[in-house]
Amino acid sequence: MPDVTVASSTIASGVLLGGMLGLTALGLSIILGVMRLVNLAHGEFLLVGAYCGLFLVQLSGVDPLIGLPVVAIIVAGLAIPLYRLLLQPLANRGAEAQMMTMFAVSIILQNAFVLFFSADTRSIPERFAATPLTVGPVTVPLMYLIGFAISVAAILAVHWLVSRTGFGRDLRASAADPAAATTLGVDVRRVQMLTFALGAACAGVGGVLIGAGFQFGPSSGASYLLNSLAIVVLGGLGNVLGTLVGGVVLGALQSLGGLTLGDGYRDVVGMALFLAVLAFRPGGVLGGARG
């Protein structure tokens, strides 16, 4: 077992990173909760955000973190036609049809990325990404802390939106009992469309954070999708704050796995945990209460 500096630093950055990924997972979670759709293109949505962030910097030179709202809007804007043209017509055709459609979208997007952006490894220039932050024995990338903060802020914002606003009421009603909601006058389709856009925006913003903190390429999407799924399952389906906790828990456990078994086993730990929770605690470690 490595010494305290290594352990604490690794776990700290794992926790921060987990929280950072929590935002992306949240996008997946609300789409799953409201539309009963496992959005297999979520990883690609994340990449769309990352590429947007990259080009935004290259064209305008503004700090990617400043550009976040723009990216969010762009990605959400892309999601809406996707919903209208591809998902809405399948509304009454069971979950599989929509899931497969999004799966097809994901492979199309992957190829589009290669075609238009080349297969190069990219990374969003961000000064914080190369700045360490040292507190006592713990050293973490400053970017992780910033990403974590942004992610937490965004998650809290979504939590407020879902639990305090009229749209949030409609959203929860549509998720729990679409038929009843419709009878009460809720336009469930519109709610679903906006939810889908919101989920995509979360992925997009998450993409910028990840693109700045790490590197990405056209085929990076899949691993982030699986990560997000794991977080969603850990946090409990549709539980907004749960995704944050889920992210942190996953991050911490993965770092522990990395420390004890070697960095290669991070994802192994993640997946094993994912399967275990999925099979034996489907409500999530916190129980499935909706946020």
Partner: protein, 401 residues
């Protein structure tokens, strides 16, 4: 009911066959010499693939401009077919199969990196079709089997590994460090050879203390604990063997982890330009072993790089050279054989003895030809040769900024 099922079955089979015949596109004209290559144009190694593709194409174009090759007494144009293997060995294999069986190639050029090259090479070997490749370090290449039809011109891991140690030694850099060495490498074939075997041995020989030797899978993205440990162990020299995405991740996470060794060497991943593009200033000072540079005193070296940069508006990479040379070796072999018969071509390849853009090429009994090694260092988004002294184009940047 039943009979109608049967009808549909038959209809289905008919349709199937119709589709299959659609699928056959085995166009192959007798007045051309068809050669082929499967290279990674997408996936993690696409960075290499694009250079390799350019090198192959250039060599073939030059031959065709010169009027083609003479086989069986008549001039024929050379047709090069390139397939994308998506950085997936099983795709390389099936691509190579298709090249042989569908496109009827007489000989082939290799992919890039051992995993891919070997997968294709095994197919060629079995089909008894000559295949010339670069981009496959010789130890990894030799470790697969005794080759009869596959030829590899590239650097030799022990030499590459030694290069950095020699450089640090001769340039008197080593003396300025605590000689504490951290070794990080992926668990791919060449990663294990270089990082797992060669480096530790050399470290002992050159009197370094290996404070850490970490292995990680090729798709790992998190290196925080590895980095934290090296930092904690006070390593001042770090040698990494990883592919480009990981090379970028490692450099970034080192900076973000507040770990700045005096010397950082990242083999294979730091070669392509996208490494510097993705990292910007962070790439400065990173060492990478190289086997070619436009300044090499070999025929056409400077022109090759210039041609590439004019054409693609990208800064050149050494991968254009070994691929270009490999293609030339093959084309010369075909010309020498004066035939498209695989065995004759193969025999001719065995006799290869000529100086190409990468230096003199002569295959040994293991079908390998060594390329000389230099130590390159990223400086301001370009690589400069810092070792050996006679070839150097710039001064060693020390310590790592």
């Amino acid at each position: 009911m039943a009979s109608n099922r049967i009808n549909r079955t038959i209809a289905g089979l008919a349709g199937a066959i119709a589709l299959l015949t659609l699928g056959s596109g085995g166009a192959f004209a007798a007045d051309e010499i068809v050669i082929g290559a499967s290279v990674p144009l997408s996936g993690p190694l696409a960075g290499f693939g694009s250079f390799v593709q350019w090198g192959y194409k250039r060599a073939v174009d030059e031959v065709n401009k010169a009027g083609g090759l003479t086989v069986d007494g008549q001039k024929k144009m050379v047709k090069l077919i390139i397939r994308d293997d998506k950085t997936d060995p099983s795709v390389t294999a099936s691509n190579t199969e298709a090249l042989i069986s569908r496109d009827k190639v007489v000989a082939m050029l290799g992919s890039c990196t051992p995993a891919l090259v070997n997968a294709g090479a095994l197919v060629a070997e079995r089909a008894k079709k000559p295949l010339v490749t670069g981009c496959d370090p010789l130890e990894a290449f030799k470790s697969v089997r005794k080759w009869k039809y596959v030829w590899d011109l590239f650097f030799d891991e022990p030499e590459l590994g030694a290069a950095q140690f020699k450089a640090l030694d001769e340039l008197g850099i080593a003396a300025k460090t605590n000689k504490k060495l951290a070794l990080w490498h992926d668990n791919g074939p060449d990663g294990q050879v270089v990082g797992g075997k060669i480096w530790p041995a050399l470290a002992k020989q050159f009197g370094y203390e290996v404070v850490q030797n970490a292995e990680f899978p090729v798709d790992n993205t998190q290196f925080t604990s590895i980095i934290a440990e090296a930092k904690n162990k006070g390593a001042e020299i770090v040698m990494v063997d990883a592919i480009t995405p990981q090379a970028v991740a490692i450099r970034k996470q080192m900076a973000a982890g507040g770990f700045t060794p005096k010397v950082l060497n990242i083999e294979k991943g730091a070669e392509p330009v996208q490494f510097a593009e993705a990292l910007g200033k962070l790439s400065d000072g990173v060492l990478v072993g190289g086997y070619w540079d436009p300044t090499f005193p070999y025929p056409g070296a400077a022109d090759l790089a210039k041609a590439f940069e004019d054409e693609t508006k990208l800064s050149s990479s050494q991968h254009i050279a070994d691929s270009y040379a490999a293609a030339q070796v093959l084309l010369d072999g075909i010309a020498a054989a004066g035939s498209t018969d695989p065995n004759k071509i193969n025999a001719a390849l065995a006799k290869t003895d000529k100086t190409y853009v990468v230096g003199p090429i002569k295959f040994d009994e293991n079908h390998t030809a060594k390329l000389p090694i230099v130590a390159l260092q990223w400086q301001g988004g370009k690589t400069v040769i810092v070792w050996p002294k006679d070839a150097k184009t710039g001064d060693f940047l020390f310590p790592l900024p």
